[in-house]
Symmetry: C2
Subunit: 417 residues, 2 copies
């Protein structure tokens, strides 16, 4: 059987090829605001009202005319006539504060017409129908003015942001109960390799644990991964399994079998049923990554070493997911850190290296993982790291340099000690 050949293309060209090969297919779904936590917002939200809708009291106390409190103190209290009580917005417009008068207001309640300040309850004493004011207050003191928080027509949340608890609270405050968010893309993941099946037959429950790694990473990215199991190194079986599933998913990943070894059938299987967008590039690790367009959907060839697999995932799969399904929203956190040692770059390649991050004296430091085989092999380069760097060819990354680090997911921010 002839060896399968692939053509390595420059990384920049590959990146462009990937993004050019597929248009955006984001689909926007409507969800209840209270169920929208963690979704990516798919519309700009503009306020249709002022918030607060009228002047409100910041504390429990008495709404007064500030000029009526001039000179008031504990030793020299000023007496005002109590003309009503406002407990909530229901009481809006019920009372008026004339000269020499006061109205009790509970916090967050509307301030009656005529009043221009609040005297906090601690500085008052109520007796019969009178209030003793024991402190002078300035105009607008302890008031929140109409529109102080948000003005009508103001952009309050932008398309492309992740929806957080406080965003939900604000949307509900504005009476917005449903919003448009991006539907999570469904990604089908298949592991390929007889050796995986053999290990399974020998009682190993998850021989395809790298596929589980990928699936869980995609879950944190905001995709909906489905794990489709293991397929043997058989061209017909690989083709059949892909064609059986491609209509169900927005994207597929075939893990392992993408190198040029005698056992690698994935590449040649897929070129028979689709258009090869690229196969091979100067990314290290991740050199034998590939992408095939099948029935107009992306099917990635993800190399089988864990370092190469995850490099392919972050450098090729994630950018395409962002473009196709989230209108290019930023899906991963970024930090800028100082390198604690030189990075062992691979000449002529884009070098992908994991880094461990640490705060010290107000600065953030990145320690690149140095394993003798260039960091492509072993799981500990990921369990001991929080993010990765990508160093272009002909570029050095030396101790002391400030470098951009992409976190593997937002969960990693918890581990930067």
């Amino acid at each position: 059987m002839p060896r399968y050949k692939f053509k390595a293309r420059p990384f920049e060209e590959v990146t462009k090829l990937i993004l050019d090969a597929f248009d955006s297919r984001s689909s926007k779904i409507v969800v209840p605001v209270v169920d929208s936590l963690g979704y990516v917002l798919a519309e700009d939200i503009v306020s249709d009202r002022d918030l607060p809708p009228y002047d409100i009291a910041f504390y429990d106390g008495y709404a007064v005319r500030s000029e009526d409190t001039a000179g008031a103190s504990a030793s020299n209290p000023i007496k005002l006539k109590l003309v009503g009580r406002v407990f909530s917005e229901k009481d809006h417009g019920k009372f008026k504060v004339d000269k020499g008068c006061a109205v009790y207001v509970s916090s967050n309640s509307p301030i009656p017409e005529g009043a221009n300040a609040i005297v906090r309850i601690e500085y008052t004493e109520e007796k019969d129908n009178e209030v003793l004011i024991k402190k002078e207050v300035d105009p607008e003191q302890d008031m929140i003015l109409k529109g102080d928080d948000i003005r009508k027509g103001e952009l309050i949340l932008s398309e492309g942001r992740f929806i957080r608890p406080q965003d939900i609270a604000l949307l509900l405050e504005l009476g917005i109960l449903r919003i448009r968010v991006y539907r999570k893309p469904r990604v089908g993941i298949m592991a390929i390799g007889n050796e995986l099946l053999e290990r399974m037959n020998r009682g190993i429950v998850y021989p395809d644990n790298y596929s589980v790694f990928i699936a869980k990473s995609l879950e944190l990215l905001g995709a909906e991964p489905h794990h489709l199991g293991i397929v043997s190194d058989n061209i017909d079986e690989i083709k059949a399994k892909v064609l059986d599933n491609i209509h169900i998913y927005d994207m597929m990943l075939l893990v392992a079998g993408a190198s040029i070894g005698l056992n690698d059938y994935t590449g040649r299987s897929l070129e028979e049923i689709g258009e090869v967008i690229f196969h091979g590039t100067n990314l290290s690790p991740g050199k034998v990554s590939g992408l095939v367009k099948i029935e107009n959907k992306p099917v990635f060839l993800v190399p089988g070493h864990v370092g190469s697999a995850i490099s392919c995932l972050y450098n090729f799969v994630y950018p395409l997911i962002s473009k196709m399904f989230f209108d290019s929203a930023k899906l991963l956190p970024v930090v800028y850190a100082e390198l604690t040692s030189d990075v062992d770059v691979k000449k002529g390649s884009y070098t992908f290296r994991t880094v461990a991050l640490k705060w010290k004296d107000g600065k953030i430091y990145a320690t690149p993982h140095i394993k003798k085989l260039g960091g492509s092999t072993l799981l500990t380069i990921f369990t001991e790291a929080q993010g990765y760097i990508l160093v272009p060819p002909k570029t050095e990354a030396k101790k002391g340099d400030i470098i951009k680090v992409t976190l593997f997911s937002n969960m990693e921010s918890l581990n930067i000690s």
Copy 2:
């Protein structure tokens, strides 16, 4: 009716009172590793084996004795006798590499006895039962040695960390299928206030949106919040609702009604059925926060202003949740940022302020929110921020200072632009 009185205690004392009032009640549950994403690990994981379990090949190629390749090059290939093929661990021990011999090995497969290096497939040519070696290789070249990744007895994951995709992959690699994690605490949240019920009656669907804010925040913290609806300002009703629910939850939060206004019944309701741990402190905003022990469980009085409510949540509720249910694990990300302006601190108080974070030129900057009423009132101080700072009394926080910022949740790391 007499005004309810509370006694403000110093913040440090309150913090100690809260943590001393309740012992740890963490409960550890066993979950399948593949379903453990995002849980907090409740045990140390030690490897029971070396990884890899034997020397393996890093690339597809030929296992050889490096001394047999001395002087080999493309123009001067050295011929070795092909004595077998290793495709997976199933073939472990099947072959032996004697002087002048080679065995084909696919990547990640065990290296046969006698061999001490791998020649990558690109530097070889196979003909009949012979292999032409076109490159000299060093001892251990392109091999991963037994135990290179992990040694038997090594601590690989520590108790208290959040379980990430790569941790799952490593656990499965070690044959670990189930692990102990902390059960999520169940937190019951009730909103209190006639004004909320009135707003609901007027057709506002979520008048208690601050409770939704708190519930969603707790969800991101790793708790299981249950929203119990709105209770009126009625002492008997509040008591009954708390006593009805307290046996179901690990903790309860009563939102609003914790200040000293005429309408605030929460404090006096709870002192009749439990032991007041504290009520009132020099935290600003959040002064009227409180905690009552009822049937040996914590019931927090969460003030009704959004700033005060969230200040109470982060300063008092979260630390107690961490102590009681996660054996004091760190549940929130921290960054150290440079202040872009002076913080308007409240004299004599611990000042809680939200900050907006931005990366610029490799440094992270924090802009404190300055609203005229000290940042306690409005939702935008949260929607425009990613975290908070806490400034102790008699401390200044000035432009240019490096200050510790706690992110509201790990999701915030996505928004630091």
